[in-house]
């Protein structure tokens, strides 16, 4: 086989090239304004951000964190740049790279970066870190987390008020605190509605007392989310809150396939803007997390020399969590119901109502 003997090294080489292209970390693209013109005051301060593999336009944490950091850059005249991770294997080297720039502040996004952030924070005690949506305990890391139970409480009240069958449902990706926090708030909101209106709206898929419910077991397989949602629809549910990342799109597909009478409550970002067009009309509202303001205030404080490692907790009060507008489903929401929700929001902000959950994030 002279021919193949000759070809083999070539093929192996090209295969190796292919593999490298696929597996090796992609060249890091750094974007961001060049050192700001108004940088006179804080010329020696700079901040870096490392995304998770979602990229900067993920319409979620990466995007809102980056918008926050860019605003901080303009506001305080500092140099900010983002390092984009393409795959999960990039995150370690990227956080290292961010620290190596010599910047005083490094913002990392998502639980995938927790280990890398902790490692770099331990190795560089002088650099200040923040990590979005994950609690990491170190003297120089300030986590940015969200008490989503408060906003889910409003969503639960809304769902109970909108439901015609008297059955609403939720499911999660996995039985983990950030997920069940939504479900606890949702459950309490429904109870509140039942108490106020003397109704018996039932929640399927989560039992707050037992801290157990329905989970798909992963955050990838949308067909499982579709089957789960279909089972809820078969059981008569007409509002569904999936807390399972992209698996929730399966729930949206199930609702649309069943005729689109039921409603969907999205999480993390406004589903009416981020979901495929086909699913938008069924979005009743979304439980939002907003990192932008948190990032601006933390960077501002750090420039002034104020930094601690207590977690920033997004609440209704500080605008860190909120529910989205009702969009196409606004006609399902009566003005009284909307008014009651506004009242509840104010009561939570005032502290008259405290939404409790075993998963509520603590500020250390």
């Amino acid at each position: 086989m002279p021919k193949s003997a000759f070809l083999r090294p070539l093929v192996l080489l090209s295969a190796a090239g292919l593999l490298l292209a696929g597996c090796a970390s992609a060249p890091d693209t750094s974007t961001g304004p060049s050192p700001s013109e108004s940088a006179s005051a804080n010329a020696d301060y700079c901040a870096r951000m490392v995304t998770n593999s979602g990229g900067l336009q993920d319409r979620s944490f990466n995007q809102s964190s980056w918008e926050g950091l860019q605003s901080a850059g303009e506001k305080y005249g500092i140099d900010v740049q983002a390092i984009v991770s393409k795959t999960e294997t990039d995150v370690g080297p990227n956080v290292e790279q961010a620290v190596a720039t010599g910047c005083q502040y490094v913002l990392t996004v998502g639980w995938e970066l927790a280990d890398a952030t902790l490692a770099q924070a331990t190795a560089h005690p002088d650099v200040h870190f923040s990590i979005v949506d994950e609690q990491v305990d170190a003297p120089n890391i300030k986590p940015i987390v969200f008490n989503t139970a408060e906003a889910s409480y409003l969503a639960g009240y809304l769902a109970a008020g909108v439901s015609k069958t008297g059955i609403v449902a939720t499911f999660g990706g996995d039985n983990q605190p950030p997920v069940t926090l939504f479900m606890d708030g949702f459950s309490d909101g429904i109870d509140q509605y039942n108490q106020v209106h003397g109704t018996t709206v039932k929640l399927l898929g989560w039992n707050k007392a037992k801290q157990d419910g329905e989970f798909t077991g992963d955050y990838e397989d949308t067909t499982k989310g579709k089957a789960k949602a279909q089972a809820f629809l078969d059981a008569g549910a007409d509002v569904i809150l999936p807390v399972a990342g992209q698996v929730g799109e399966g729930a949206a597909a199930a609702v649309v396939d069943a005729g689109g009478a039921a409603s969907l409550i999205w999480v993390d970002n406004d589903g009416f803007e981020t979901l495929p067009a086909e699913f938008r009309p069924i979005v009743l509202t979304s439980v939002l997390k907003n990192t932008q303001d948190a990032v601006i205030s933390i960077v501002g404080g750090d420039i002034d020399g104020v930094f601690d490692n207590s977690a920033f907790i997004g609440t209704l009060k500080n605008g860190g969590v909120e529910i989205a507008p009702f969009h196409d489903r606004a006609d399902l929401v009566s003005t009284e119901l909307a008014g009651e929700i506004d009242q509840l929001r104010q009561q939570i902000i005032d502290g008259a109502i405290v939404v409790t959950s075993p998963s509520t994030p603590s500020s250390n």
Partner: protein
């Protein structure tokens, strides 16, 4: 296959005695374990109430009556029946006879009814939803398993099913969005699966690289590539690249109105109809056509096939490619057939379950399909039971599909024998 059965046929006279002495206690022991579980759950831990089985959805024209069963009494009756079947199976083994498949089937069915009645005490169990969901969850597994069967029957181990499906899912979403045509997307998925197969085939057949290693590497490669392009191209402009039209549901008039069977077989999307046809075609093709005979011969005994003039390498190459195309369709199901948009890692290990179904199904397209259906059923059972309020903690419920598979493989499936030359490169 024919060659193998002939040799055993010829030696049957001598083997008969030997055969008679082999007492396989696997079935009665498995039956016994399950019966004890039934006793513990249904009788000793019985739940009060009535379990109702809803056979038809509310909206359908023909309504079947809801079957109402008293939970405790049903549990007791079923446990007794299960014990009876266990005893009968043990008796058969004792008298040196095998436990036939129909007994296993009846046993499984009885246990299932008992379990559903127990878990759904006081609630209504949507039987139609249970079955419909089974098809929806099994569809990608069936395509993947068929891809595995074709490839392995020709003698190339196909670990890369996951990669072929993921590539199919990605390309189908992208092509369908760019062209605005879901069928173009489906075609794109087949091409993508084939391209992944080309790499596998080239390395496995031409360059004699270990097939398992190539397969594993391909899975990682496709995962990396699709995730990369997803987060760079698709998330940047989803309207342009990642909003495919989904296949609409096609109802076949009259037939779709049959209770239970109608929604399952005649109210599906085109991709499910294609799946039903593919299962039949692959089964018929493999065992009743010249193509099938050639595929099986290069997988069982490539030297012999070569001697009679079949080009082993070429046959393997094209069948591995065909396998990729079939698995690619399974990938398209995730997007065009189910949810629409592509998402990172969205096949979530379905390719590996499909691979298990191939082995569990003894490299037979029909049995592999059954295995995939069993897995899909267990997954959906877990989902439906959770919704109607089962007393089992969710973590245990999530294990159900895997437990069922292990039980089925360990307890009831006979010896799995791979095609003799599966995974072995053919060197002239």
């Amino acid at each position: 296959m024919s060659a193998v059965s002939q040799t055993s046929g010829a030696g049957a006279d001598k083997i008969v005695l030997e055969k008679a002495f082999v007492k396989n206690w696997k079935a009665p022991i498995s039956f016994g374990v399950v019966t004890i579980v039934a006793l513990l759950l249904f009788v000793l831990n019985g739940r009060e109430g009535t379990s109702s089985f809803k056979l038809t959805a509310d909206a359908t024209a023909i309504q079947l009556p809801v079957i109402q069963l008293p939970t405790v009494a049903t549990g007791i009756v079923i446990t007794v029946l299960l014990a009876g079947l266990t005893a009968y199976s043990a008796y058969r083994v004792q008298t040196e006879r095998k436990t036939p498949l129909w007994i296993v089937a009846i046993f499984a069915f009885l246990f299932l009814v008992g379990f559903l009645a127990w878990a759904g005490a006081g609630a209504s169990i949507p039987v139609y939803g249970l079955l419909l969901g089974t098809v929806a969850l099994s569809a990608p597994l069936i395509f993947g398993a068929l891809g595995g069967v074709i490839s392995e029957r020709s003698g190339v181990v196909n670990i890369a099913i996951e990669g072929q499906m993921l590539a199919g899912a990605f390309v189908s979403a992208m092509v369908a969005t760019l062209t605005g045509n879901a069928f173009a997307g489906l075609f794109g998925a087949m091409v993508a699966g084939m391209l992944v197969s080309f790499v596998l085939a080239a390395f496995a057949i031409k360059y004699l690289v270990d097939q398992i290693i190539v397969g594993v590497v391909l899975n990682v490669l496709v995962l990396g590539l699709t995730s990369f392009f997803y987060s760079t191209i698709m998330t940047a402009n989803p309207q342009m690249f990642n909003q495919p039209a989904r296949f609409p549901r096609i109802e076949i008039p009259v037939l779709s109105q049959i209770p239970i069977i109608g929604p399952l077989l005649f109210q599906q999307t085109i991709i499910i109809y294609i799946m039903y046809v593919t299962v039949f075609v692959v089964w018929y093709g493999l065992f009743h056509t010249r193509w099938g005979l050639r595929v099986r011969s290069v997988g069982e005994h490539p030297q012999a096939a070569d001697t009679v003039g079949i080009k082993v390498g070429v046959t393997r190459f094209w069948n591995v490619s065909l396998a990729g195309a079939v698995a690619g369709m399974g990938g398209a199901y995730f997007t065009l057939g189910s949810v629409g948009a592509f998402n990172k890692e969205m096949t979530a290990g379905a390719g590996f379950i499909a691979l298990a179904a191939v082995i569990f199904g003894q490299w037979d397209p029909l049995k592999a399909t059954m295995a995939a259906l069993l897995f899909g059923f267990a997954t959906n059972l877990q989902s439906v039971l959770g919704v109607i309020g089962s007393p089992v903690p969710s973590e245990f419920m999530l294990m159900l599909p895997y437990v069922v598979t292990i039980l089925a493989v360990a307890g009831f499936v006979g010896k799995s024998r791979a095609p003799a030359a599966d995974g072995k490169p053919y060197i002239k």
